[in-house]
């Protein structure tokens, strides 16, 4: 067994796990670790705020499928990361967050920059650790990576007291990790698969309802095979977008509060809902008792707690989506039924669906030279072939991006779904760009959200991350304003941004490029110019100020009670 300095052992563990890039911000409690990182070939991205570090690691993880790593100091460093940790937790993103801690003899003494970060993050991490003994250091890091990336993924935090990081620790060879108390179920129960497949054969109006689990398990191909083979229409949650090609005829787009008319109607009228890696979130279901009222429900999820949590399920399948979908595809291949005939029986259903789309397509009213945000996103989609990595902030900008960008592939939409964290998009874009330097990465932003982590423009510049920011600027906190318009008598309490910076000048102050469009006719040329510049570019689109996101299902209503354009 080798003896190594704690900080060296940590770096060795990171390399063992294939980590090449980490995101962080130094401080007194992690200075030893930084001292040894200085000599290592791991790229460290110095952010401008710890929230940005964890969001960037999260963006990195979402586009690569690997574990993202962030390094924060103790006390405020760690607490600044909490929002971003909760963001990753809600969306099941694999992260390992290393936080510094005061030396073990000082823990509990209210020492300088001491905080009980393990206590604080208990409800928003998949698991967390305080390493209290030197011999635990290496096994803890290995176990943390194992937990973060397996089962339903999630963030794992390791709190590292300064004296342990500076002490000599044991470093033995890595062995496969077996945990008596943690064994996620990957393989589906074949009896349940058969039951589910038989229901699918019987269904006249089936709908595939696809969530982030399909992205996390990389099962988009298996899903596409199932849908195409049996001609089952597909709707996706915000987290599931890209899990099925947006330009495929069977795609109905997103469902739920701001979902398409077609998707919400299809779910309401379906006789079989096949939920794959989705969790029946309130933004999807609306009023729960009116959600898919005529449908039997099949639910595939790796997390047993997701099943029958919000909606009672008829056929639960606890498994990794990929394994379950492979098993279903195999069952259909060998079941002896003529699948083309089965698919043909769905023709009337698909016609009904097509009629809904003809009657109420995703649409917006054109207002000549006043820029419509939907038009900007449409142009973005057109000029990047639906193939750019789109990160978003949270609010109207996020919903327009989800509605009008037709994601052709998984891991192309990087957005804070569960927690809805404003300020997510820019640091996440930096993380994505660090992972794929050749990819086009665009943050679709609003003027409210972008200001929550605008400081990361400096990070983007420092690491030559030429991300593009597509700012849909309406001088409002637009989503809340929309609710106030519709449900609070247009009383715009605290949603008017009376002072906003000159974003073009602000971009230039950071050494980025600022472009502005104030008329519809300027939109295309601004996007084209931005895409061609090898620098961070902020496009300031002055959009129709009071444009709303539609369709909209008011909170607590049935998803068929949509407000349309």
């Amino acid at each position: 067994m080798e003896k190594l300095k704690g900080s060296i052992a940590i770096i060795k563990c990171l390399k063992e796990e294939g980590v090449k890039t980490i995101f962080g911000f130094p401080g007194g409690a992690v200075i030893d670790l930084y001292d040894d990182l200085y000599d290592s070939d791991i790229t460290h991205v110095l952010v401008r705020h710890e929230q940005g570090a964890v969001h960037a690691a999260d963006g990195f993880a979402r586009v690569t499928g690997e574990v993202g790593v962030a390094l924060l100091t103790s006390g405020p460093g760690a607490t600044n990361g909490v929002t971003a940790i909760a963001t990753a937790y809600m969306d099941s993103i694999p992260l390992v967050i290393l936080t510094g801690q005061v030396p073990t003899p000082l823990i509990g003494n209210d020492a300088f920059q001491e905080v009980d970060i393990v206590g604080i993050t208990r409800p928003c991490t998949k698991h967390n650790y305080l390493v209290s003994k030197a011999e635990d250091l290496v096994p803890t890091i290995r176990e943390a990576f194992h937990i973060a990336r397996t089962g339903r993924p999630g963030p794992v935090l390791i709190d590292l007291p300064k004296d342990i990081v500076a002490s000599m620790v044991d470093f033995d060879e890595k062995k496969p990790i077996r945990m008596q108390n943690y064994q996620p179920t990957y393989e589906p129960h074949m009896g349940q698969i058969e039951k589910a497949c038989k229901e699918i054969l019987k269904a006249k109006r089936p709908v595939l309802y696809v969530g982030g689990g399909v992205i996390l398990s990389d099962s988009n191909e298996e899903l596409t095979e199932l849908a195409n083979k049996l001609k089952i229409p597909v709707t996706m949650t915000l987290m599931g977008l890209g899990g099925f090609p947006g330009r495929n005829d069977l795609s109905m787009g997103m469902l739920g509060m701001h979902g398409s008319y077609t998707a919400n109607m299809a779910v309401a009228k379906s006789d079989l809902l096949i939920a794959v890696g989705a969790r029946f979130d309130d933004r999807v279901t609306g009023r729960v008792d009116a959600f898919a009222p005529h449908a039997k429900i099949i639910h595939i999820d790796i997390d047993p707690t997701s099943i029958s949590k919000n909606v009672a399920v008829d056929i639960p399948i606890v498994a990794d989506c990929k394994h379950a979908l492979i098993a279903m595809n195999n069952w259909f291949t060998t079941c002896g039924h003529n699948l083309e005939e089965v698919a043909a029986t769905h023709a009337p259903w698909l016609e009904t669906i097509a009629d809904w789309t003809t009657k109420h397509p995703m649409a917006y009213l054109n207002e000549g030279e006043i820029i419509k945000p939907q038009y900007v996103v449409e142009k973005l989609d057109e000029l990047t072939n639906g193939d750019a990595i789109i990160t978003t902030e949270v609010g109207q900008n996020q919903m327009w991006a989800a509605q009008f960008y037709k994601f052709s592939k998984p891991r192309r939409l990087v957005t804070s779904g569960g927690l809805g964290t404003m300020g997510y998009g820019l640091p996440a874009a930096i993380g994505a760009k660090m992972a794929f330097p050749d990819a086009m990465v665009i943050d679709v932003a609003g003027d409210g959200s972008i200001q929550m982590n605008i400081q990361e423009l400096a990070t983007a510049k420092q690491y030559k991350c030429p991300v593009k920011i597509c700012l849909l600027n309406n001088n409002y906190l637009g989503m809340v304003r929309q609710w106030q318009e519709l449900f609070y008598d247009k009383r715009y309490a605290a949603t008017v941004m009376e002072v906003t910076p000159d974003f073009v000048a602000l971009a230039e102050a950071y050494g980025a490029v600022g472009l502005r469009a104030t008329k519809t006719s300027e939109v295309e040329s601004v996007i084209k110019e931005a895409l061609s510049i090898d620098n961070v570019v902020l496009m300031d689109f002055r959009i129709a100020r009071e444009e709303g996101v539609f369709p909209m299902v008011p909170a607590g209503k049935a998803t068929t009670e949509m407000l349309l354009v």
Binding site: L130, Q180, N181, D303, P304, S308
Partner: protein, 160 residues
């Protein structure tokens, strides 16, 4: 409905707060809770009594199982089981009531563990309802202090 759930967990710092945090964070209710080491000192056994309809109890057991430090979760009230609680009661025992207190304790098979000129401290074990019965009977005589444990429980061994 009441359920008694037995949870085996890693005997490590912070594990109990993971369990209680789960209950408070998700709005589940804990009526009583008791925890101690098992024969294997690396593992603790936690018995908790909670209530809710079937869907809630299903979520509770699944959510408990999801905690990394939890090894096994059993809803032991689903089958035959034995449950016990213990109570220490300090009851007024003056000349006029000393004999009465002893008689009551004797009926409930309790014992006196501490005596002072004016009080007896008695120890009793039994189901929660038996403990409640003792308390109700001793209350008019004058209970000065009371400490109850949470319920501990064990499934009955198979008879075959």
């Amino acid at each position: 409905m009441k359920h008694t759930i037995s949870v085996l967990l890693q005997n490590k710092p912070g594990v109990l707060s993971r369990v209680t945090g789960l209950f408070s964070g998700r709005g589940f209710n804990i009526e009583s809770l008791s925890v101690a080491e098992t024969l294997d000192s690396t593992i603790s056994c936690l018995t908790l009594v909670t209530s809710g309809d079937n869907a809630i109890i299903e979520q509770i057991t699944k959510q408990l199982h999801k905690l990394i430090d939890v090894i096994k979760v059993t809803d032991i009230s689903e089958s035959e089981y034995v449950e016990r609680e213990m109570v220490l009661i300090r009851v007024k025992a003056e000349a006029s009531t000393r004999a009465e207190v002893l008689r009551v304790i004797d009926i409930f098979r309790g014992k006196v563990v501490d005596v002072s000129p004016k009080t007896y401290t008695v120890e009793l074990t039994g189901s929660a309802s038996k403990i409640q019965a003792v308390i109700d009977i001793l209350r008019p005589i004058g209970i000065k202090e009371i400490v109850r444990t949470g319920t501990i429980a064990m499934a009955r061994a198979p008879k075959k």
